[in-house]
Point group: none
Chain length 195, copies 4
């Protein structure tokens, strides 16, 4: 019992650390030994926990996606104004420490998804989850055609994240945040109040 619980906790810790490794090195370049170096957990133990290397990567993707979603929900909890909530979702990009990790992992997931049907299903489901989350806020904010707008907003967020994470010197995080706020205003349409 207690060993099983300890084991489960250990597994989750390993998943977190492995996520950092995958974000830093890329999924293809992540070896068992890299995760071992980052965690102190032996290679065979990783295999015991996760199975093959690819199984481990998939587990990392799922875990990271779940954490990301949970994190945003947490941030959203204290906010009630839909416009504030939208902005909170959007600036999830620029805010937290580790958000680079989040975006890198998202790209890694996307890449993996394009070759693995199981991961594709996961990623598309996550994608849909984000759409719905955003669409609900758009609707509450009085925006027209919530799903369409939500798609545009999410595309904008994703598309801005890429150069930010890449470290485009012309696009600091602050600049990105301003761009994002401005873009939201435009996308929500002329009738929506500006942020």
């Amino acid at each position: 019992m207690s060993s099983r619980r300890r084991s489960a906790g250990r597994r989750a810790e390993v998943l977190d650390a492995a996520g950092e490794v995958v974000a830093a090195r890329g999924a293809d370049a992540t070896r068992f030994s890299d995760v071992t170096a980052a965690t102190g957990v032996g290679v065979s133990t990783l295999q015991y926990y996760f199975g093959t290397r690819e199984d481990m990567l998939v587990a990392v993707f799922r875990h990271a996606a779940q954490r990301d979603f949970d994190l945003v929900r947490e941030r959203l909890a204290p906010l009630t104004d839909p416009r504030e909530r939208l902005l909170a979702i959007a600036t999830h990009l620029t805010g937290a420490v580790g958000s680079d990790t989040t975006w890198r992992l998202w790209v890694e997931s996307w890449r993996w998804a394009s070759r693995d049907p199981g991961v594709r299903a996961d990623v598309l489901a996550d994608y849909r989850g984000w759409h719905e989350l955003i669409a609900a806020e758009v609707e509450a904010a009085g925006g027209e055609d919530p799903m369409t707008t939500a798609r545009l907003i999410l595309a904008l967020i994703d598309g801005l994240a890429l150069p930010v994470v890449l470290g485009d010197p012309e696009l600091t995080r602050a600049a990105a945040q301003r761009l994002l706020a401005g873009g939201l205003t435009r996308l929500l349409g002329p009738t929506a109040p500006a942020f």
Copy 2:
């Protein structure tokens, strides 16, 4: 001379084919032998052409980026109306066969750029090139703050490309094109004429 020219032609052909391989398998998973299988050119010959495997990948990225840019310019040539030109750039995404290859290679480049300073410089320069191309059209179309708008437009394009290439069943190419057109209108601001 003629053999050098023939050689250069062969190299370019190999780069095209290698680009397809990289798009299909991912850069990390692209082995010399995969390119050999796709081209009939022996492993040693690839090394003779490009050097190490990573050199080859970088050459593929540069070649693909150049081709992409050239292709858009070509498509833009017959168009004069800035709004039409903008839309042509934007729907570069949805149109041609092989655009999946383009977008996949873009993601591969982005990933490689995260870890290789040389590639990062290339990718950021390309990025800037696209911004300027778009900004010029925004300005010609009478949009305000062309660079800001250009960044938003490019982000929208990139952000929409991802689910399209991943094959999101809720986002057909036609739907993406409509979204894109709508998004452009909104981003260019209420004063800009609708597309």
Copy 3:
């Protein structure tokens, strides 16, 4: 007591099943997990019963040799005519279902015996046991030089078993049995009555 007896019974069952596995896969290729799959008994339990993997294999060999001997004795019990008894021993090869298992295990034992002194001693003792069993019948049948003849007969049986078990299409079981009967007649000498 009862649990010990149950345990001993379980161990014997496991040995039977493990024998099948060894015959099918070969001793070297027999993993604990193969036996687990065949018996439902966990790996650790197998180790608890037998010790190391090699200990288990040796136990399988001894068990199988014993069973084989017991089985032949059983078949011999109702027969009194030495010639019939000899033929019964000889055709132990062609008769029963499961005789493939027997012969395969014999080859596996032989191979193991080549490298393990303990198993070699067991196998040579078994070998001697068969010789004596056969020699007694040869003597009773009036054959000359019983031990020599017994050796020849046993060699003939072993030598015929190999292609039969291998599934030589030119040597059906029926053909093997006829060959064996003919061979016995010749080996027992011209003065012995034909079978």
Copy 4:
């Protein structure tokens, strides 16, 4: 050219040495590294020559079978009397240095054949080759029913080889040779002249 020829020669040498290793350790237990230790040829070179480990083992079997057959033919060449020739074939068992290797490899082949259809076909073809070789001599020696007799003789040879190779203390090589000579006389029938 010369490098290719050198390569072919090296390959054959390696096959000889690998045959010794397989005979000594058993096929299943033969690792690339064992052959490396025996030959000085690196593991990857072995793989370059043969492919997978199993491919190497199969190559060893074929090579050994061919060599064995060639060797007997060589020994047969100077002999004309069919009875002498038969005895030469039969005592192929006891004679040469390395005959243990031959028999051990034969058992290894047999075992491999029982799980690999390709090897089974090879082994059965070899088996048939030996039958035909023996049958021709039986016929020349005036024996009746040459194929049947050949089968019995071959079985006797195989069946005697096993305990000899195992080192049965009651069956020295000299004793085995006497047994074999006696067995041949009996199997060829009372009308055939004794050896």
